[in-house]
């Protein structure tokens, strides 16, 4: 026995697996929470210019998504995935596409529908075909058409209550050049319309109005290596190609959900292609479709449907544009 006691014991829980046994340290949950973090500047801006209601709307949407995700996991008898941050991310993004004057119970319903019908029934994270938040927005457009298109607010830094307004793209759709002239006339003396739009002093959905805040968040994601520029840049190029058809191309580029969609919706890993060439085609397609819908379609803004349409093509783009093999085919010489 004394001889035995010197022997090292076999650890009781020795794990067997194939390699590798070390990892980069990045996890899906970490990525999702970093995306959520990068979305906060836009929310802070919305709170500052539209007031407390936007926080309530956002919370309502997040709750809808998270509760639905939890319910789906319970029904599917799988471990709960609410901690991975992806349901929170969908909730945030859905809220960002909504008008700031929306009744706060609606996003809850929208979030639940989005989560269940876009993600839940397809098998959860990684299996959805469409962007969850965008399907949520599309379903809400069909369900609550009035609230989704009229509850705009005029941004007002530091002012107690905001007054209702109309969006630039909405005005153009209805009134064309005439409406634009009216908008420009309403500007304070010396005001630069494009700068107001870039900063976020415009009517629009909660998370879309400040291009600056969106770019701040996007810069963080680029720095962390979570997103790459292929998709957002090609979307912007695609929309820019359609901008000359608008009475005010610069404002056109800074309007609507373009920047939010380009940097935060279209870059969703699950529903976008993986290879640079596929990503460029995907982005250009979104940009052109956005322009087509804006210019000649029935809706003032087209980015939501453009992204969803290109989501459909993602599997095909992944098949058409594959990574280049190190070694060319053929038998060895």
């Amino acid at each position: 026995m004394s001889d035995e006691s010197d022997k090292p014991a076999n650890p009781l829980h020795l794990h067997l697996s194939s390699g590798p046994h070390i990892f980069s340290g990045r996890s899906t949950a970490q990525i999702m929470w970093m995306v959520n973090l990068s979305l906060l500047p836009a929310l802070l801006w919305a709170w500052a210019v539209f007031g407390w209601a936007v926080l309530a709307i956002t919370l309502s949407s997040i709750l809808g998504c998270v509760i639905a995700e939890y319910a789906v996991c319970r029904i599917a008898k799988t471990a709960s995935t609410i901690a991975d941050g992806s349901a929170v991310c969908s909730g945030l993004l859905l809220a960002y596409t909504l008008p700031p004057g929306m009744p706060i119970w609606m996003p809850f319903i929208g979030g639940m529908l989005a989560l269940i019908f876009t993600k839940g029934i397809f098998g959860g994270l990684g299996y959805n075909i469409f962007n969850v938040a965008l399907v949520g927005r599309a379903m809400m457009m069909a369900t609550f058409p009035v609230e989704m298109t009229t509850r705009w607010l005029t941004p007002a830094l530091g002012k107690a209550d905001a007054v209702s307004a109309a969006t630039f793209l909405g005005q153009i759709k209805l009134g064309g050049q005439e409406a634009l002239t009216k908008m420009l006339a309403a500007l304070p003396d010396g005001g630069q319309l494009w700068f107001e739009f870039f900063l976020g002093m415009r009517a629009g959905s909660i998370g879309e109005v400040s291009v600056l805040m969106i770019l701040l968040g996007a810069a963080f994601l680029l720095w962390k290596g979570i997103i790459k520029l292929y998709i957002p840049l090609s979307i912007l190029v695609g929309v820019a190609l359609m901008a000359p058809f608008s009475p005010a191309p610069a404002i056109y580029m800074l309007s609507g959900g373009l920047w939010l969609g380009a940097f935060f919706m279209a870059t969703d890993y699950v529903t976008s292609p993986t290879q640079p060439r596929g990503q460029i085609i995907f982005g250009l397609g979104i940009g052109l479709l956005t322009g087509i819908i804006r210019n000649w379609g029935g809706y003032p803004e087209g980015i939501c449907y453009a992204i969803m349409l290109m989501n459909i093509l993602t599997p095909a783009l992944n098949d058409w544009f594959r990574p280049k093999r190190l070694t060319a085919g053929g038998a060895p010489s």
């Binding site: 697996s17 390699g19 590798p20 990892f23 899906t28 994270l125 190190l326």
Partner: protein, 455 residues
């Protein structure tokens, strides 16, 4: 991380993929090689790729260090007694990769009268077939881990046009420092061994490739080439040292050949097909020992490391030394060990039995704690594309994994399964911790089964 891939390293490297894992080499890189001889060794008869050897000794036989104790009938690699002693048993024992194997256990007896393996006069002028014979007799295999019989790799086909010998001192696996220490401490043997191999395959150009995190080894090799007067000794062979970028898997044959020569090994081909032969530094030493001293491969240098072992070391041990003896020699465990690995942390294999012993191909023995690895279960693929960026071969591990999950392994060849050499870059980078290498293995196994059935 670069936004686009416009960042280019100034040092030579392979063209696509690769990862930069934490090195962990500081645990052992400054520790000189220490010799440890246990009182018992257990040698599994399968030590290299190919047919297993058959034992030539029975229980109670006396053997001397270097005696042949097993051989492959009909020609193949022989196995030699790593220590002098008495055969305790010839029976089934654990094997690090095959799980079980016939194992010869030798109990050490007095080392008196051990052969010295002195330098054989005239070794430099031996004819090439004789050099090859000595390498075969000595049971030399690739000591980098692949354990392919070296004489077979050096016996070039008649039509082969080989012009370059690459000596692989990359040691790109984290934690491992044994090749580094060999290059520092036994640089003469590495250089002379490389020369022997260059002579055998008849090339003018011999390049020693070393990663940039091992600069002292590169300097030592350069100094030694000059000090030995290699150019004067044999002007026909030009030896040089090239420092490559530190990037895993720099030490993989195909990647290293591209880094050093710019040549791409064709699909399903060998470096041979682009005129290159690759040998590991430790293998070069073994070739020299075989040709100059007629010393068989009876010992090897390996790195014992990881946060889970009290005293990490670079050890020279007889083949057949058990994990248990090494743990005792290195001061026991340190904390909670969750994985014991043979080899490096990227491609190494886990073992479950402390009776497993060191084979010719064992370059490392790692004791990993939970903090060093990840035991969490995996999640669905989120199509982030990290594995596609990391794969040095340009394969599609994500797609393979999705096909395996729905049990369609025989549709995965289109994603490059058969070109996968299991370096592990994909799983390393996967944020969902998917066992992508294992999915690849499942697919390959399905193809092997299909091929067997077709026969």
């Amino acid at each position: 991380m670069s936004l686009f891939s416009w960042h280019k390293s100034a040092l030579p490297t392979f063209s696509r993929g690769g990862v930069h894992p934490e090195e962990h080499k500081g645990l052992t890189e400054n520790l000189p090689i220490e010799t440890f001889i246990p009182t018992t060794v257990s040698i599994p008869v399968s030590q290299s790729l190919g047919a297993p050897a058959e034992p030539l000794v029975a229980k109670a036989a006396m053997v001397k260090r270097g005696d042949v104790i097993a051989t492959v009938p009909g020609g193949g690699l022989s196995l030699h007694a790593p220590i002098s002693g008495i055969v305790k048993s010839v029976q089934t024992g654990p094997h690090p990769t095959l799980v079980h194997d016939t194992t010869i256990t030798i109990l050490a007896k007095s080392a008196e009268g051990d052969p010295e393996f002195a330098e054989q006069p005239g070794w430099q002028t031996l004819a090439i077939p004789q050099m090859l014979d000595r390498i075969k007799e000595a049971g030399v295999v690739g000591l980098g881990g692949a354990a392919f019989p070296t004489y077979r790799k050096l016996m070039l086909p008649k039509d082969a046009k080989v012009d370059t010998l690459v000596i692989n001192g990359s040691e790109c696996e984290p934690y491992l420092t044994c090749d580094y220490r060999v290059m520092l401490e036994e640089s003469e043997r590495v250089v002379l061994g490389s020369w022997v191999i260059a002579k055998i395959i008849g090339v003018k150009n011999c390049v020693i490739g070393i990663e940039s995190n091992k600069q002292p080894a590169a300097e030592q090799m350069r100094k030694t080439i000059a000090a030995l007067g290699m150019e004067a000794m044999d002007p026909a062979v030009k030896m040089s040292v090239v420092v490559t970028e530190t990037k895993y898997p720099q030490g993989s044959e195909k990647q290293l050949v591209q880094s050093l020569t710019g040549r791409l090994v064709p699909k399903g081909g060998l470096p041979l097909h682009v005129g290159v032969v690759v040998q590991n530094v430790a293998t070069a030493v073994a070739c020299l020992d075989a040709v100059r001293n007629r010393k068989p491969v009876i010992e090897r240098v390996l790195t014992v490391s990881g946060a889970g072992i009290k005293n990490p070391k670079n050890l020279r041990v007889p083949i057949g030394t058990s994990v248990e003896d090494i743990i005792l020699h290195c001061g026991g465990y340190n904390g909670d060990v969750v994985k014991i690995l043979f080899g490096g942390p990227m491609m190494g294999r886990t073992i479950a039995d402390l009776d497993v012993s060191v084979t010719k191909g064992t370059s490392g023995l790692l004791f990993l704690t939970e903090a060093e690895t990840n035991l969490n279960s995996y999640q669905p693929c989120i199509s982030c594309g990290e594995c596609l960026d990391a794969c040095p071969m340009g394969l599609e591990p994500n797609r393979v994994s999705q096909y395996i999950e729905v049990n369609r392994p025989l549709e995965t060849e289109q994603f490059g399964v058969k070109e996968c050499f299991e370096c592990g870059c994909c799983s390393y980078s996967c944020p969902s911790h998917r066992p992508l290498v294992q999915f690849m293995q499942v697919a390959k196994a399905a193809y092997r089964r299909q091929e067997r059935k077709a026969k």
